[in-house]
């Protein structure tokens, strides 16, 4: 199955960074990673120059729901946003983040343009990366790993600001393009990932000693409305 992929050059830090660089909004990034670096080969390397180190198994990752589409009218975490895992990846924050790094990444998600609805932190979830119930332990029926977790650093909402080194991305690696019923299978796995987060919800004031509650107060006071000079 991976005969063609086996001809790719060996993965290393430079080749992994070349794969991720500039593709944070590419909706085919998950496929691109797997085709260039099969079997999550890039997990061993820093995929972003701004990252301090690859994501370790002992870490956890946070998913902070700030978009109005993430949570429904009953407070239930929606599945559809997790389908990003088969495209440009699911955005998460690493537990190695300092309070300042965590807060900065969350703030970036809270920004809105003048006149647009204000955002707020609605829910926060955390899931282990490794271990028997971690993201990296999820397997397909035939035993192949489903998800890769990479130290993908992304650009800031205000593009001129320095990136935060503790962002990560989760990417689905199966099934390969051309597989029958591929979309259906991708939806199955996206649902599986959502289930992992759904089972590990934290109280809003339970992460980083109430930091998120304070950020919500600032968001409600319109502190995260971009100004004209903050143009993209």
């Amino acid at each position: 199955m991976n005969g063609e992929l086996a001809t790719k050059a060996a993965s290393n830090e430079a080749s992994c960074q070349a794969t991720f660089n500039g593709r944070e909004e590419c909706d085919k990034l998950a496929d691109y990673i797997e085709s260039n670096h099969p079997d999550c080969a890039c997990e061993k390397f820093r995929v972003s120059p701004a990252s301090s180190e690859p994501v370790a198994d002992i870490e956890e990752v946070y998913r902070v729901a700030v978009s109005p589409r993430d949570i429904d009218q009953d407070g239930v975490l929606m599945v559809r946003p997790f389908e990003k895992v088969a495209r440009e990846g699911v955005s998460v924050i690493r537990s190695i983040s300092s309070p300042e790094q965590f807060g900065t990444l969350v703030c970036d998600g809270l920004y809105s343009k003048p006149g647009d609805p204000l955002k707020s932190i609605q829910k926060v979830y955390t899931v282990p990366v490794g271990g028997t119930d971690g993201i990296r332990a999820q397997k397909a029926g035939e035993g192949a790993r489903l998800f890769g977790v990479y130290d993908q650093v992304v650009s800031r909402t205000k593009k001129e600001e320095l990136p935060v080194p503790t962002h990560a991305g989760i990417f689905l690696r199966l099934p390969p393009p051309g597989t029958a019923n591929r979309r259906k299978i991708q939806k199955d796995y996206a649902g599986q990932l959502r289930e992992m987060f759904l089972n590990r919800e934290l109280p809003i004031d339970g992460a980083y000693e109430g930091l998120l509650t304070k950020l919500n107060e600032r968001a409600a006071a319109s502190e995260f409305v971009l100004k004209a000079e903050d143009g993209e």
């Binding site: 700030v66 589409r69 429904d72 559809r80 440009e88 998600g109 299978i185 199955d188 649902g191």
Partner: protein
């Protein structure tokens, strides 16, 4: 800009047998799309078995859902869909497309006639299409409907515990789509 219009009065029958006449308003786009969707779903109708809860010509479908709670849920979901429709592009900070109005209108129209015991809620996909997700966690059932921009076709997905998942796409009156929605418990 969609014009808000009054369709007329509707007689709502509640679970305790009482009825109430309420004014039904919607915007013109939702109404037009809604009529088309209901027409599609009712087409080869088994209408004798369908119990309308609005005494409008294009009344609802389903069974055993004549309750104030059902009306409340529909209202809450439609309010949320209208809020989602107003979101800008990149509302998630991760590059999501702006909502597609025709898709959201189709979802609102569908919800207007929805009768299901499954818990459900709306969202958007990355391309701006409206999605309604249905779930019964106790019985391990999850389903979703994605409304295409043409406001006529949908993609439906069903996953049941212990069974292989299913995916169907096509017009709402396509037999395979209706059968999947029926197996999911979304429609009768």
């Amino acid at each position: 800009m969609n014009a808000v219009c009054t369709i007329g009065d509707a007689m709502i029958q509640y679970g305790d047998g009482t009825t109430s006449r309420e004014s039904v308003t919607t915007d013109r786009a939702e109404y037009t799309v809604g009529k088309r969707i209901v027409d599609a779903l009712m087409a080869p109708a088994t209408s004798a078995s369908l119990q309308p809860y609005y005494d409008l010509p294009e009344a609802g479908f389903g069974e055993n859902v004549h309750s104030l709670e059902v009306a409340r849920i529909r209202r809450a979901v439609k309010v949320r869909l209208r809020a989602l429709r107003r979101l800008p592009a990149d509302h998630d900070g991760e590059g999501a497309a702006a909502p597609i109005a025709a898709s959201v209108d189709a979802a609102i129209a569908f919800v207007s006639h929805l009768s299901t015991a499954l818990r459900y809620g709306p969202t958007l996909d990355d391309d701006g299409r409206a999605v309604i997700e249905f779930e019964d966690r106790g019985n391990g059932i999850f389903a979703d409907i994605t409304f295409e921009a043409d406001s006529r076709t949908v993609e439906c997905y069903l996953r049941k515990r212990g069974a292989e998942s299913e995916l169907e796409a096509g017009a709402l009156d396509k037999a395979e789509v209706r059968e999947l929605l029926s197996r999911a418990g979304v429609i009768a």
